[in-house]
Symmetry: C2
Subunit: 208 residues, 2 copies
């Protein structure tokens, strides 16, 4: 029989447990029973906090989206040449991804048919679209090379950014020994990784 602890969860701490389980088992593969076991409280205690697992999904994804869309409202994302705004948004998107890693991971993995999943995918597309518009604007201002299609450039940029969710491990941020894939750890802090993404994507890895 699992140890049942007293329910001292806040909305945030319960959400944190639920999102970890969703990321481990997949949202579809997670039952209220799994959440109850992971949280160490009864299902009825969980129902005291939320209407069900879809509400936890919506809250987890909202947290990711609030962080990401917040970036688009920052002064440096709104003023100046488009390429500067784009670099700012890229840098801050990486930082939010790392700071809110489990929540953004949940958002990136969501694929499904429930209302919440459809809504999440729509909002994610909307974010991508906003960045794609910045890419187009920067290209129109002559600051991005003309020989790469803006839509393709946006996809490659997000490819680089979103892949961070697959390998970044906060506990290895200082970069130690061997890691699961891709040639060792050496990840760095969120600011270091963000800076590396901006340099790679905009200036390139080659010395000039």
């Amino acid at each position: 029989m699992p140890t049942v602890k007293r329910d001292t969860y806040t909305p945030d701490s319960l959400l944190s447990v639920a999102v970890r389980v969703f990321n481990e088992r997949g949202y579809d593969g997670t039952s209220m029973e799994h959440l109850s076991q992971a949280a160490g409280i009864s299902k009825s205690s969980i129902y005291h906090h939320v209407r069900g697992k879809e509400e936890l999904l919506r809250r987890g994804i909202s947290r990711a989206l609030d962080g990401l869309f917040g970036v688009l409202e920052e002064p440096s994302a709104l003023e100046g040449r488009a390429v500067e705004r784009l670099e700012h948004v890229t840098r801050r998107t990486v930082e939010v991804l790392i700071t809110e890693l489990p929540y953004v991971t949940l958002l990136l993995r969501v694929r499904g048919n429930t209302g919440t999943e459809v809504w999440a995918m729509g909002r994610r597309r909307e974010f991508d679209q906003r960045v794609a518009e910045l890419v187009k604007e920067a290209a129109a201002e002559g600051d991005l090379r003309g020989d790469i299609d803006a839509r393709l450039a946006t996809r490659l940029l997000f490819g680089m950014i979103n892949s961070i969710a697959e390998w970044y491990r906060p506990d290895r941020a200082s970069g130690d020994g061997a890691q699961a894939s891709g040639g060792g750890a050496g990840t760095g802090t969120s600011a270091e990784v963000a800076e590396a993404v901006v340099r790679t994507a905009f200036a390139g890895l080659r010395t000039h």
Copy 2:
């Protein structure tokens, strides 16, 4: 009752059906019954070709690995400055990914505990490691910028490359209207996408 067709499968055509089903349902979520339904032949007909689904997984992954490791043996991957070899390997890896899309997708998604899955993940790490060594060599030769850790650069490079498996759709190679995410289609041929990846990663998106 499903229509059962005469078994005219070759090893390659049966593999192609199996890999499609693995990618749609996940390897764990695929039973011999699913494979039988998708192929339109009986389970015993499938057992006439292979010992079981793990053999189909191994064959599918071998096809991806043969393509990828083949790139490392090409003359342009073996001769010249490391940065040139690295750019060649990057370009050709993207081309193989697109040409062998279902097989490389299968390789990239594999996570599991069967012998074949552990072997696949090990071989994938080995490939990443070989590319990571090229990155280090190119950095040592002074052709890659010194302010990005080689391991991080390798991860970002693979992030960009591997993400292609998530959005590239062969039937939309010419780039038409709206697509599922990331700001429209506009994908291009394998050579065009490969060239865009090389330009972005090594020269950067900015005009100089």
